[in-house]
Amino acid sequence: MSDSNSIADPAELSRTANRLRFEVTHMISRARSCHVGSCLSVMDILVALYGGVMKRGAGREDRDRMILSKGHAAAALYAVLAEYGYFPAARLEEYLQDGSPFIAHTNTFGIAGVEFSTGSLGHGLSVANGIALAGRTRGRSHRVFTVLSEGDCQEGSTWEAAMFAAHHRLSSLVCVVDHNKIQNYGRVDEVLGLAPLDAKWQAAGWATRNVDGHDMAALLETLAAAPFEPGRPSALIAHTVKGKGVSFMEDQLKWHYQTPTPDEVAAARLELMS
């Protein structure tokens, strides 16, 4: 595993992201599982982080940390970790097999590179706070990234955590919201609206930016610019599309749940790998 990133080529990373989108679609289909839409929306963010922005290296003290608060996108994280050499890609076949560590929600036990187990929303940012505070107390300079869903942003605990990070000026902390506009049971605007989401983070004391969460060059540039303001944690609202990259899955609620059939996996492959 390389432990630092040379200057990343956005086009190359975008191709990687699409290849991993196919991998994840295949994993979820094979396991007859769900959340494919969430995995596809977050993929560019994760590839930008692991392929371009983060200092990698499982177990290294100075590595950047990443907590996937939206633990239901675990399959996407597993595929990204395999891609960047944390474990052999063949192990992805264990996904959801009985007795395997590859659980549907992010699991740290037995999987190199997974910093923390998640799955219940609203936990990741607090844990990231603790990691960032530990780093600062020890005078370390690593950054702590956390990726949130809209569901995370509806949990009160996330806003407790947001206040804490701003109050304690945890500037090593970068929170990316995968803002794909669809949640479990409908459109976010119809269920429990978050708008104005960037203003909420701003008001909580975070330096906040918006980005097209599928524009790899913009993601790399914005993430690399964190902290956006000295002495403040950084929030990046990444505007994404649920099911991104597979035309018949894009912006469709049902792909929060539905298992892709083998035919649909084949169709997704054509779109993603062409």
């Binding site: 607090s126 530990a134 955590a161």
Partner: protein, 310 residues
Amino acid sequence: MRTAFVDELMSLARQDPAVMLLTGDLGYTVFEPFQAEFPTRYVNCGVAEANMMGTAAGLAREGFKPFVYSFIPFAIFRALEQIRIDICYHDLPVTIVGLGAGYSYGDMGATHHAVEDIAVARSLPGLCVVCPGDPWEVRCATRALASRAGPAYMRLAKRGEPIVHALETRPEFHLGRALVVQEGDEVALLATSNMLSTVVEAARKLEATHGIRPTVASMHTVKPLDADYVRRLSERCRAIVTVEEHSVLGGLGGAVCEVVADAPTRCAVHRIGIPDRFVHVSGSQGYYREQCGLTVEGIVTRTAQASRQP
């Protein structure tokens, strides 16, 4: 108990740079010396307990040993999922320190009563549940928990509790091991948390007025319970009486019943504790204890009855 805890924690923090103290905006006039001596290892997290537990988990993941302090209901119930997932599932060395056992804050109302906490904490895999019976036990437990690997919950009463274990008769303290206060005959009185001194007094009275000398032990660790000790008692006693300022469901009494149910014995278990209901009127700790028979008289009467039953 609170003062004993802070004193001990400060001496630990001097020896171990990993020890931290997080509080949910409680501990006024108590934590100031810790804050002054260890400013970077003290965090008042504000009234945001869920975040405090998650933050503690993150700190522990990075090698710190956070002690997280609040009133029991806000520590255990408010932040239960963070305790369950972030701390217990990850088996992290976080010690949750709750103040206000049972009706310690009686007149503050049901929001501040802590009568189901042991049951809830005991149900979480890997969580050590420690309910010290006097300030000396608090010191011992604090010290033991700081050098332990996994998560723990320590239940404190309030302040001003008497010292039960006199200096010259103090046994050795071990987490998970019953502390025998006195050996007796066919009845055993098992106390946990802030009922210990009342139980010791009741035992004296039983001997003086009824001629019954019960075995008395402090079950400071409710999980892992000293099951061997309970099993041995059940083999030689007619009755075990458990006493706790906690619901009769799922606390010490429940834990003892679970052990005795599996033991080949006819020993009866009598649980003295709080009935399974809320209270909706104002009351002092003494008033509520009276209502539940958690008094010297109540314990004497129940134990005398228990010892007479065939």
